[in-house]
Amino acid sequence: MNFYLKSFLIFTRIGLFTIGGGYAMVPLIEADLVDKRKWISKEDFLDLMALAQTVPGIFAVNIAIFIGYKLRRFWGAFWMAAGTILPSFVIMLGIALFFRQFQHIEAVENIFKGIRPAVVALIAAPTFKMAKSARISRYNIWIPVVSALLIWLLGFSPIYVIILSGAGGYLYGRYRHRQDRKEEKK
């Protein structure tokens, strides 16, 4: 089978069977491409994973793009990304076309009245998990608190928060760097 068609189908299958986001895809990709097909070495895979996590964008698609690009440059990346996207695209389009007709039935409304608070809780819970892995301490806790309040109460765009916190981190890093140099001179 043609390499591109094969990669497309592998990632379609992986995209179809991962419910709940990008991180669920990682073990499937590893089992298939690293262990079974040996298209990519374990070390390269780990490097690409770190890269896919660092750059912005959708993690699952980033992994597909980086692996594809490593193996076959642009078209490798293109077909692997297309494979990852296709199942969710088709399913969500189906939901958009049909769900909206059922949305206003009373039973469906009632089901979603129960679901909505659950979804909010499912978003609130990882906030605290992430706070741990982001090494939030009493020195930098003001950053998430101020960001959240700006967005929530003042309607600030989250994009500005991303830009400001990245730029702030960079400037603080340079400041620290200079301070360290001064200390060394003394």
């Binding site: 089901i111 009245k113 129960g114 659950a118 765009s157 991303i162």
Partner: protein, 189 residues
């Protein structure tokens, strides 16, 4: 029509370009643009989409781009076919930045990943992303999602606390939690 397509392209391109920190952090960004800024979806519609995304395969960024692209166009008074085109445009735009970045940086990045400047940027970004997540949860805690009358608000608060504990302390499966709360909602209301 063209203007709406351009807006979709611009919005989802931005979301893809600044979407640091994974799916849940992206929720905050999509909400800021799609609900607060353009009003393409109501808060409750947006919450329903997150619920449906959790239960269906695929990353939440793709799921919401596909859905919003369709709904924004159809609610703007255009046909289903145009809606499908809108959803293709939104989905394409949200992944386009990843492609561009890959081509620009893949050669250099592995070398500079541990560069002090890159690490410094991320020392600011990580706490910022935590704030984004907190904001996503806070913005969604409103009358559309928790109800406006007293009984529904109490039921909603109980469900919220129960799901929070089940997810945070006991790492319960989110799909099961959503299905369970759906059944409870059907029985209670």
């Amino acid at each position: 029509m063209i203007i709406l397509f351009l807006k979709l392209f611009y919005t989802f391109f931005k979301i893809g370009l600044f979407g640091f920190g994974g799916g849940y952090a992206m929720i905050s960004m999509i909400q800021g643009e799609v609900v607060t800024r353009y009003g393409w979806l109501s808060t409750s519609d947006f919450t329903d989409i997150i619920a449906l995304s959790q239960m269906t395969p695929g990353p939440i960024g793709i799921n919401s781009a596909t859905y919003v692209g369709y709904v924004a166009v159809v609610n703007g008074g255009y046909s289903h076919a145009m809606g499908i085109l809108g959803s293709a445009i939104a989905t394409f735009s949200v992944v386009l930045p990843s492609f561009i970045l890959m081509i620009l940086i893949s050669r250099f990045f592995l070398k500079y990943q541990r560069h002090p400047a890159v690490e410094a940027v991320f020392s600011g970004l990580r706490p910022g992303v935590v704030g984004l997540l907190a904001a996503a949860a806070l913005v969604l805690m409103n009358g559309e999602n928790f109800g406006t009358e007293h009984t529904q608000q109490i039921v909603s608060a109980i469900l919220f606390i129960a799901v929070f504990i089940a997810s945070y302390r006991y790492k319960a499966n989110p799909i099961m939690l959503i299905i369970g709360c759906g059944i409870l909602g059907y029985l209670i209301y």
